[in-house]
Amino acid sequence: MTPRTLFDKVWDAHVVHELPEGPALLYVDLHLVHEVTSPQAFEGLRRAGRRVRRPDLTVATVDHNVPTGDRALPIADPVAARQLAALGANARHFGVELFDLASPEQGIVHVIGPELGLTQPGMVIVCGDSHTSTHGAFGALALGLGTSEVEHVLATQCLVWSKPRTMEARFTGTLAPGVTAKDLILAFIGRIGTAGATGHVIEYTGDAIRALSMEQRMTVCNMSIEAGARAGMIAPDDTTYDYLAERPRAPGGPEWTRSVARWRELRTDSGATFTTRFSLDASAVAPQVTWGTSPGMVADVTGRVPHPADFPTDGERRSVERALAYMALTPGTPLAGLPIDRVFLGSCTNARIEDLRAAARVVQGRRVAAGVRAMVVPGSQRVKAQAERERLDRVFREAGFEWRNSGCSMCLGMNPDVLKSGERCASTSNRNFEGRQGRGGRTHLMSPAMAAAAAIAGRIVDVREWQVRQDVEEVEDVEVVKRVEGGAP
């Protein structure tokens, strides 16, 4: 048989029909639904007198729009309340399971799918959200859809898709201490550009990927869309199976053994070809910080704000000029040392338990810098509960962080959590677009440990120095903080 890629295997197993004009009708195993991109789709079904074909393969939650404060209070914004109510009514009407605000299972759709074991290797998973690529970390083919396609999947359980190209992104070597999956994916996007993988599905391979935990792999696949790819995948292995075993919705008993045996086939055969190949030495990656208004506008934390003249094309120079004006940054300014006003630890990229642990290790026993407002928004209520069992909430609260309920929150600022114009924010989310976190707000994307360190120092710092000093002078904590501040330009 011709050697096939992981992508080919999942694709082939889901082709229901080849349409004469080229695309395939692909079967969807899991359809995740949230409140913002679904109301018009359900309305379309209603108007056409159609039903949801497989409500048993459809799961809904509320995340984008939900307040993250006190859940006992009524929702202040009537438009948001109407949208949340619409999803409740649609779920009831069409028989779809919903994890609503009262549910202990509620959370960001890309956090709860994996943690409940709904996300499994080899599946085709869709959701009306571009970060559906997250689920590819399990060897699923997972992609974001627009609302019309959502309606199509609701009605038919199938997706019409023209076969995309494939890209292998091979990350070799070992990540240095203080460098995370977030830095790896940001460095990758910085190299290939935000349209570098347009039209492709990426498979991430290499030792650096194998060494990542499931949660870190999710961070990598999550940001595939920021490289232009609709989906990113990682072949499942023992790390995957260890994560999935015993999850509430994962197969159990003899079915588990059969499933794992089947999942073991899900890897790229030797000799299989990709349309495009890219490789990166992970051991050379430093902590990353974005300086502009696109995730590709990124540099090492030890770097400086670039000069528009450094860029080869007119278009790029214009973009960089606009971005620097928006970000109020001058070329040549070192990134380390930039003062920040806000810190957001959250989003489907970096709000899982390991992210909160990594941030808490940096925060432990310290105080958020004067004048900085910092918040932690766990990715799901389960993550929140787990963190509280580990007393991480105390670490954050004692340091002066706000500790919230789960939701998308300031990742996109649809709820009351927004930046004010001119505020500069260290954020663990995935998009630094103009106005994304609030009109006029300035976002710097980075890892959870880097964002936590920024909260304490009140400015962007290199977490690697931080950790070294912390190890060496553990007893003189306050001294250490001062020195990091003093050391910043």
Partner: protein, 199 residues
């Protein structure tokens, strides 16, 4: 869906790369549960100043861009969020076709679901259109002919554009994609029965 065969209209130029869907429709407008009402939200934070008055600097606010139905834009147009609201807003504002050197995948699929043509042209051709639009000083018109896969200005510019064959058929016929897939119900059911493991 309204079919698209050929359209002649006034051109607006937006010579910016990486225009993301957060700019096309900012999040504060996403809470609506309808498909309509997004026109006023189009490029809201670029079109309007914080006090609500139009920003004269923004390309679409120029007098020459009023009434435009064809948008010429930079690379990677429509990147970011999957929100179809972006296309609903463009359509409601009056755009029938968008010409760019590249589009984000989800955005271009969303266009085709709403009778908006995402026409791919070479970067040099887009640069030429920016020049011609600027030089015309207003009233620059193009014809987008989907049947012939061609863009022309009647003054010497003529270029073939690329579009996926299936998407082209869909736009030309104004296809009801769901209706068509539902005709394949037998095949879908057969696929479900044949799966080696439960779905």
């Amino acid at each position: 869906m309204e079919p698209f065969v050929r359209h002649t209209g006034l051109v607006a130029a937006l010579p910016r790369d990486d225009v993301d869907t957060d700019q096309i429709v900012p999040k504060q407008f996403l809470a609506r549960v309808e498909r309509t009402g997004f026109g006023p939200a189009l490029f809201h934070d670029w079109r309007f100043r914080p006090d609500g008055t139009p920003n004269p600097e923004f390309e679409l606010n120029r007098p020459t861009a009023q009434g435009a139905s064809i948008l010429v834009a930079g690379a990677n147009f429509g990147c970011g969020s999957s929100r179809e609201h972006a296309v609903w807003a463009l359509r409601e504002y009056g755009f029938r076709a968008i010409l760019a050197p590249s589009f984000a995948d989800i955005f271009s699929a969303n266009c085709c679901q709403n009778g908006v043509v995402p026409a791919l042209l070479a970067p040099e051709e887009i640069a030429e259109l920016f020049r011609r639009c600027e030089a015309a000083g207003g009233d620059y018109r193009l014809t987008v002919d989907l049947e012939a896969e061609r863009v022309e200005d009647g003054r010497g510019f003529s270029a073939r554009f690329a579009i996926d064959r299936y998407r082209r058929e869909m736009l030309l016929s104004g296809l009801d994609e769901i209706g068509r897939t539902l005709l394949l119900e037998e095949r879908i059911a057969a696929y479900e029965r044949a799966r080696p493991h439960p779905v």
